[in-house]
Amino acid sequence: MRKLFLPLAAVIILLVSGAAFAQHGDGIKKRRPLPEEYGTVEINNYSEYTGLAPVMYPHWLHRSIYTCRLCHVDIGFAMKAGGTGITAKDNEKGFYCGTCHNGKMIFRGKPVFKACTNAHAPRGWLTPEQARRCDKCHSEGKETVQDYDFYSYTADFPKETFGNGIDWEKAESEGKIQLIDYISGVSARRPDLPIPPDADIIPKLEGMPKVEFSHKKHMDLSGCELCHPEIFSIRKSGDHMSMADNFDGKYCGACHGKVAFPLIECGRCHKSAAFQ
């Protein structure tokens, strides 16, 4: 019996520690992204396959120029990373990144740099200028010089605690940013939108302040079809939205916590003096 005790104890310890390890992933708490990293999306559908570094897409820069709707509805970028399947050929034909990154569109007085068109060419065949241009987007793990530096670009923007550390809503209302919502030849001309009424969302948790959901704020940024019905479909009786769902990337969590201000800024939605 004594002979059996030691191996048995070792097996039990291994099983218990293995289960605990599995529950906490690699045992390391996930690092909170730096302000300039928040919202950055790694796009790697074909990059590494073609010998390029994955694209590190800076959401902060694009969201300071365009509405969510313009890119995710009119240009057709999926809401999930890697869901679009962008190819260099698509860009060359003027779709996705190539809608603006075509070397022709003028923004702030200069042409928007062209997406790399000969991405599949061996590195030695590219001119230094072409290689630099590829590296601007295909930048994972590289020290690249970007046209816009996060900290100098956002220096006078109103600040917030988490996410990018920027109160984007306030930045827009103060005129620090003016979001573009229309690109000729891509967007359809839309009539002025009637705004649906705002909605109060009453939490089930007693004492938790209600959410004052503004349809107007969300429509200005996202239009209708970005949220309905893909993220918010018709609710059947028994369907409940929970914070656990949100943290899981569903409902509000489809944007908040990924690009829009994170869910831990409770007071931005649950309006109460206690959270201010």
Partner: protein, 108 residues
Amino acid sequence: MKKIITDAIFAVSIFFLSLSVTAYAAGSGLSENERSWIDEFNQVCSETGASMTLSEDQLKDRISSAEGLKGRLGTLDDSAKKVYSRRLDMCRNMYTFALEAKGKKTNK
């Protein structure tokens, strides 16, 4: 003999010239069919933002037009098909959502 060779060179040159012109035309912008599909798409899907103000009949009409367009997605090239297939789905789904929301309101 010399004339035959000259004619052959001329014919081959014309052949390659016409090939390159065709390739250039294909690579520059959209074909007539594609342009007409996209124009129709813009017409059908420009009212998604106002979908809650449309009547049930108007919504049904937009949904059926969107379905018609889906059947003709084949007229677009691969990249355009990828982009517009998603855009068309979002548009059709939004009209369907509005129609269902109206139905739910009426039933209450």
